[in-house]
């Protein structure tokens, strides 16, 4: 397969591995922020190709995993309102809320539809003018522009029965929060698709203020190995910087059109992250001028404060402090078919990845 197979070549991967082993002297911890990266590391067995000096930890970059229980509970409350159709990406359907999940509510009769693009929600809204269609907006700078585009399209076409419950989040504040909490991280492997939208300046602070290197990485094994090599050589030479490994996709300035849509539709707000608490200016709120599309403004439901499930250590896993095997529930009470914590639900959650690749 073009543009994929080239980046999975064994010889290339092994040659980067050799270089890494030659230059790595210090014991370092690198955080792969994105769930897609965690998957790639395990899927291709990259840990076994790293020198013992380099430790990889998983970060809070799986959108399903960091969406708060309160968000899921709110979605569930909307789904029970008369005349409401919930549209959602498939990942959310099995996430356990405080007492139930969207999958179970669907079996109870709620109209909950899995879509693959938010624009399908607009089609559903047009086809059901007597219903209210609520899209559950989750994801980082990668999916948020699509939600923004859908809202702008709804405005253009005067579709009045389309709403968004936004749990969209942005990456840099949570990375900074982890560092200031004192989590030991020597460098970040940053998600390539985020920077495809935002560019790389969003990380400059981390390099200049915190003295941490950031390499914007692609998702194939050669990309990952190369990024680890770039970060390691930064650390070994004491010159932290923001660099792009994923040059075939990422431009330093990012995608201006997508950025403009984002700022036209959203503003920053303090936001709740599952297991991490409230992080200042880390979430995306729909601007007042577009509040007719904001489900939180348009629907009045009361959702009780939720608590994290007992024994679940998703919060510490998302901080990179613990790994799934440290959790008493992992693989016993909490499995992909019957997940307790969100990290087990999404295919890209750290726990689900560990479970799948636990050989």
């Amino acid at each position: 397969m073009k543009y994929v197979d080239e980046y999975r070549k064994k010889e290339l991967i092994l040659s980067v591995s050799e270089k890494l082993k030659a230059i790595s002297k210090k014991e370092i911890v690198l955080m792969e922020v994105c769930g897609g990266h965690t998957m790639a590391i395990h899927r291709f067995g990259l840990n076994s190709l790293l020198p013992a000096t380099i430790k990889l930890v998983s970060g809070p970059g799986c959108p399903v995993c960091v969406s708060s229980q309160h968000f899921i509970d709110t979605a569930m409350a909307y789904s029970k309102l008369p005349g409401v159709i919930i549209t959602t990406y498939g990942d959310l359907i099995r996430v356990p809320g405080s007492s139930t999940s969207l999958e179970k509510e669907r079996a109870n009769g709620s109209d909950i539809r899995i879509i693959y693009s938010v624009l399908e929600s607009l089609e559903i809204a047009k086809a059901n003018p007597d219903k209210k269609v609520v899209f559950l907006g989750i994801g980082f700078e990668t999916t948020a522009p699509l939600t923004a585009a859908a809202i702008l399209q709804a405005k253009k076409e005067a579709i009045a029965n389309f709403f968004v419950l936004s749990a969209h989040k942005i990456m840099p504040p949570v990375m900074k929060a982890l560092v200031s909490e004192g989590v030991k991280i020597d460098g970040f492997i940053a998600p390539g698709h985020v920077s495809a939208i935002t560019g790389t300046a969003i990380y400059n602070d981390l390099a200049t203020t915190c003295g941490l290197g950031v390499v914007v990485a692609g998702f194939e094994p050669v990309d990952m190995m190369q990024s680890i090599l770039m970060l390691t050589s930064q650390i070994e030479s004491g010159k932290p910087a923001v660099e792009i490994q994923y040059q075939r996709v990422v431009q330093p300035e990012g995608n201006k059109i997508a950025q403009n849509m984002l700022s036209e539709v959203f503003e920053f707000r303090d936001d709740r992250w599952r297991g991490l608490g409230i992080i200042p200016k880390s979430g995306l709120n729909i601007r007042d001028g577009l509040s007719s599309y904001d489900a939180e403004v348009q629907f009045n439901v009361s959702v009780p404060e939720s608590t994290e499930p007992k024994g679940c250590i998703c919060g510490q896993i998302l901080r990179g402090l613990k790994t799934p095997v440290d959790c008493g529930l992992f693989g016993k009470k909490c499995t992909p078919s019957d997940p307790v914590g969100a990290c087990m639900v999404s295919g890209e959650g750290t726990c689900a990845t560990y479970y799948k690749y636990r050989s």
């Binding site: 990942d91 693959y116 399908e120 890209e348």
Partner: protein, 339 residues
């Protein structure tokens, strides 16, 4: 344990762990008997001195017309294949229709014609049937049920038992995996992938007869819902040995591979309707591969893995770069990833 408020969810029909649990908790609990407990694709029954295989299957596929076939063709292939992998020669099938009020008669005729022509191709006769019509909205266009009867010759009686499998035995599949599931997904959802992926829907009885004439088959199963992963997990559990697969040997069409990459799916979990997994001894391998590759339905046959004494009960996939991962059976529906 079933709780009073538990309801059927779509994942219960996905062929994976949820369905397995449903079968155990509800159906096996009440129906269990020595024949059913074998849980093979077809029941093997004694009829005097003869043995017959008996199976049934319902078809509710959406869309009813898809690249590579339609619900009618599928209704024959599914039942014929369940008989064939049980070592039986399929002879007779039934065809029952549940039709929704308002369904186009011309579409019904196209479907019935393909059912008839696939039955002819497979060499089975449709000998009984039933027709019901329900109010609009009470079923989706049409559902079909077929049941089938086949004759098991004495030398093939052990095929379903998975006996005598030892480390070193090899696992063969007769061609590319995941085609049916991805063709349906592309036809059903609004992806508009520009791909030529077609369902592999085909009756395998003639191919399987050649296989049985060539080799001593230790196990055979068609990897439909839940895909190759689910069948091999069941096998590994049953024989209490490990199974090792080579990622680079798995035959996967480029279109299927690309769709899987985009959606985050695993081809090992995707349904097939014209594939059979065969376990034979390593010595039997080369000869069988020759026979398979000579048949139109086995051109892309491949040895995808082997039975091993390590990691008993588990299926492990090795990739070229040294990565190893456990291939679980499907836990619910496969869900596309969002990023």
């Amino acid at each position: 344990m079933i709780q009073k408020e538990d309801k059927i969810m779509l994942g219960h029909g996905s062929g994976g762990q949820m369905m397995h649990k449903l079968l155990e908790d509800v159906f096996m609990k009440h129906f269990g008997n020595p024949i059913l407990n074998e849980q093979t694709d077809a029941a093997i029954l004694e009829a005097g001195s003869a043995q017959i295989a008996f199976t049934t299957d319902s078809f509710v596929i959406d869309p009813i017309f898809f690249p590579g076939g339609n619900i009618g063709k599928l209704a024959v292939c599914g039942t014929v294949n369940d008989l064939a992998v049980s070592g039986a020669e399929p002879l007779y099938i039934s065809a029952s229709f549940i039709l929704e009020e308002g369904f186009l008669l011309s579409d019904l005729e196209i479907i019935v014609e393909s059912l008839a022509s696939e039955a002819k191709k497979a060499g089975v006769q449709i000998v009984t049937g039933d027709t019901k019509v329900v109010n609009k909205g009470k079923c989706d266009k049409l559902f079909i049920n077929t049941a089938g009867i086949g004759r098991v010759s004495p030398e093939n009686r052990m095929v379903t038992k998975a006996l005598g499998i030892i480390p070193g035995d090899i696992i063969i599949v007769n061609g590319t995996i995941g085609d049916h599931g991805m063709a349906i997904m592309n036809a059903r959802e609004s992806f508009n992938f520009k791909t030529t992926v077609q369902s592999d829907c085909a009756s395998l009885n003639h191919l399987i007869r050649e296989v049985l004439e060539t080799s001593e088959v230790k196990f055979m199963r068609d990897p439909t819902r839940g895909g190759v992963a689910t069948v091999l997990n069941e096998l590994a559990g049953k024989i209490q040995l490990g199974i090792e697969l080579d990622e680079c040997e798995l035959p996967v069409n480029n279109g299927v591979k690309a769709m899987c990459e985009v959606l985050g799916f695993d081809p090992l979990h995707i349904a097939n309707e014209g594939k059979v997994l065969i376990v034979v001894s390593a010595e039997d391998g080369p000869n069988l591969m020759k026979v398979l590759r000579n048949n139109e339905l086995g051109r892309k046959s491949a040895i995808i893995g082997r039975i091993v004494s390590e990691h008993s009960g588990k299926v492990v996939l090795k990739n070229e770069t040294g990565g190893r991962r456990i291939v679980d059976s499907l836990s619910g529906d496969q869900l596309p990833r969002i990023c």
